[in-house]
């Protein structure tokens, strides 16, 4: 009984401290880095360090309006579901990197499922808000999810094959500490390219910010959201800006080791990934939804299939 309670306490520490608080703060910081770098690229000054946090706090204090005719229950629970998904993914990833012994078999699959939850919550919220622009945005998000999931899963398959058919994140990290990181192989490089593209779409950043496209559909699914609900969506998005690079680091770049100098090396990997994402976002215009789906089902799927074949051949 007591061991169970200690265990429960242990897990809730991971859930609250690492999964939520730490992830949220790093996510907000990452969003500041992203905004600042973008601003500097565009000859602007950029926001002060605390701006992302101030934005969230300010939104929390605002009134939450529910549009007339919207499904109130769905409209208000959708952001919370998205946040819950993000926190769970973060918790699993942190546990794998801090205490690999605590992870369970098949957590890679669980993470893959959970990573779609924020997208699903945006679709739910968009359709629930009964706004034509939000519906268009939500249907675009749906098409986008259908588009990028296929190459994303195929790229994950490369990881599974390379690490000796394991679907446990801790084993993948362990494999990489013994055999070098997965990106150092040809199949790893190809899969990495695919995953970076899918990340861009998962984060809804240019060129795949089609669901939110502010100059076309004015924020899409988020158009009717205000106050706390909007703050939760923003926070989820900021957290994903930490979670997805963290996930990629775990899979491709050998994870983050929190002991000694290695933490700096981990930080470098993370900042490098965020910078890569920001650069892609700043050097491309937005594509159309049909072009995006074509892109993911055409070139990206082909590349990931090639990567899987290469991985099977041991390259």
């Amino acid at each position: 009984m007591t061991t169970m309670m200690i265990n429960a306490l242990n897990y809730s520490v991971y859930l609250l401290i690492f999964g939520f608080l730490l992830t949220a703060f790093i996510g907000l910081f990452a969003s500041w880095v992203d905004r600042k770098v973008t601003a500097r690229v565009q000859y602007r000054v950029g926001p002060p360090l605390l701006q992302p946090l101030i934005d969230i706090v300010k939104l929390l204090g605002k009134e939450t309006l529910v549009p007339a005719g919207a499904s109130k229950m769905t409209f208000l629970t959708a952001p919370v579901i998205g946040l819950a998904g993000a926190i769970l993914v973060a918790t699993i990833l942190w546990m794998n990197n801090i205490a690999p012994g605590k992870s369970f078999v098949g957590d890679l699959i669980v993470v893959l499922y959970l990573l779609t939850i924020p997208s699903l919550s945006i679709i739910m919220g968009g359709f629930a808000s009964r706004n034509p622009l939000a519906s268009i945005g939500a249907s675009r998000e749906m098409k986008l999810v259908l588009g990028y999931e296929l190459p994303f899963i195929l790229a994950m398959l490369v990881i599974v094959i390379k690490s000796g058919f394991t679907i446990r994140l801790a084993d993948i990290v362990l494999y990489q500490t013994h055999h070098g990181s997965i990106i150092s192989s040809w199949s790893g490089v190809l899969a990495f390219i695919v995953v970076i593209m899918c990340t861009q779409a998962k984060l809804a950043l240019v060129p795949f910010d089609i669901p939110e496209a502010e100059t076309e559909i004015v924020g899409g699914p988020l158009i009717e959201y205000s106050g706390t609900a909007l703050a939760i969506y923003k926070l989820t998005k900021n957290m994903l800006l930490f979670i997805l690079p963290f996930f990629i680091i775990t899979l491709f770049l050998g994870g983050i080791n929190l002991k000694g100098v290695d933490i700096l090396w981990g930080l470098l990997k993370y900042v490098g990934l965020v910078a890569l994402i920001t650069v892609i976002r700043n050097t491309n215009p937005r594509v159309r939804i049909d072009q995006a789906v074509n892109f993911f089902w055409g070139p990206m799927t082909t590349i990931s299939v090639i990567a899987v074949l290469l991985a099977l051949a041991g390259k």
Partner: protein, 394 residues
């Protein structure tokens, strides 16, 4: 899927001015469009009739913040057409320099906005950064970044100082490398090709049928540019190319504008290097009764002004036709059948300027009588009464 109405406007992050597009969409495909302007009518034509010929120039300048030189240019030419008279040679050159400077900053502004509409904010910021340099050069020449107040019937108000010319030339030379880089970034970007090629095509036939003007027409293969066809100012003195492309899609409209930037730079440099000596103002004493027209090639197309004088010191009638007025109906030819994602860039591709176009509009009255203020108030009261009854509110 059912037909949905997607409103763009009256206030929308896409457009910087209030105007209202009602897009009827079937899924993502646009099947109908209705355009409504008139939110920003300021009655400048009427206002101009209450000012003297000289004062009107400044009122006219405020029709538009971007083509703030085109309108006075066309207006002064209309007034000079009444007399009729020729302005001094030096004034012609100065007018040309100012007009081309305006074209550069206007095209850069559009290029930036087009980038923004496509979600390419880096192009947006870079184009506007470049535009700052041009605005600085214009400030050196005219004293103002915008609304240069350089024009007056009979000439220009302010001379270009000899010591300013090298400074301005240096400034203009300094923007060329960045402009070339921007041109490469825009014209060679494969993703931009995917977004703009074959989108919103205005065929040559349609361009002629709808009387499209300016870059909108030139992108469709209609070689129509007043600076070449009907030269004014100093445009017939130097060599420059009219940019004409054939496809009429959004990409070609981008190309026309980007290449025109370099032609304008060429024209300004030539004019500054070959500025003739002499008077800058013909000093008109009075305007005889009569009527005159003035038209010039503004950044967006032909701006047309008509002025009638009754012998007093004020215009008896002043009529303005901005290029957007003619380009607006081409939406019917370009946007139908396109997707909603492309709608924004197609709407922006004509480089619309609604504040130029604003006028009191009576639209589609279908044989019914015109309603006035009192009628509308009465109708509104009746409707409120009806709703009250329906909802049971006392």
């Amino acid at each position: 899927m059912a037909k949905t109405i997607v409103p763009i406007g009256p206030y929308h992050p896409l457009q910087e001015e209030p105007e209202f597009f009602t897009l009827t969409v079937d899924g993502e495909k646009i099947i109908d469009i209705d355009v409504r302007v008139g939110y920003n009518h300021r009655g400048i034509e009427k206002l101009s009739e209450s000012k003297t010929f000289d004062q009107s120039t400044f009122v006219i300048e405020r029709i538009c913040g971007i083509c703030s030189t085109s309108h006075p240019f066309a207006y002064t030419r209309a007034v000079e057409d009444i007399i009729p008279m020729e302005v001094p040679e030096r004034a012609k050159f100065i007018r040309t320099i100012i007009a081309e400077g305006e074209r550069i900053h206007s095209h850069l502004l559009w290029l930036g906005l087009a980038g923004h509409f496509l979600g390419y904010n880096t192009v947006y910021m870079w184009a506007w950064k470049l535009r700052e340099e041009i605005l600085d050069a214009m400030e050196i020449l005219s004293g103002n970044r915008q609304n240069y107040a350089m024009f007056k019937p009979g000439g220009v108000r302010r001379d270009i100082k000899a010591e300013d010319i090298p400074v301005v030339l240096k400034k203009i030379d300094s923007i060329i490398p960045t402009a070339v880089m921007l041109k490469k970034a825009v014209i060679d970007d494969p993703v931009l090709h995917a977004r703009t090629k074959g989108v919103g095509i205005l065929t040559k036939e349609n361009a002629i049928n709808y009387s499209a003007l300016g870059p909108t027409a030139r992108a469709s293969g209609v070689a129509r540019d007043l600076r070449k066809n009907c030269p004014y100012g100093a445009y017939d003195r130097m060599e420059w190319d009219m940019i004409v492309t054939e496809n009429g899609d959004v990409f070609d409209k981008v190309v026309v504008r980007v290449l025109e930037l370099f032609e304008s730079i060429k024209i300004i440099k030539w004019c500054l290097n070959n500025l003739p000596k002499g008077e800058i103002d013909a000093k008109i004493k009075d305007i005889p009764p009569g009527e005159g027209i003035g038209h010039i090639e503004a950044p967006r197309g032909e701006t047309f002004h008509y002025v009638r004088s009754d012998g007093t010191n004020r215009p008896a009638r002043h009529k303005v036709r901005a290029p957007t007025f003619m380009n607006l109906p081409t939406y019917k030819a370009t946007i139908l059948g396109q997707t909603l994602s492309d709608a924004t860039i197609i709407l922006a591709a004509i480089d619309p300027c609604y504040c130029c176009t604003e006028r009191v509009a009576v639209r589609n009255i279908k044989g019914k009588k015109l309603l006035h203020g009192e009628d509308l108030v009465r109708m509104s009261q009746q409707k409120t009464e009806l709703l009250r009854k329906k909802m049971g509110v006392k």
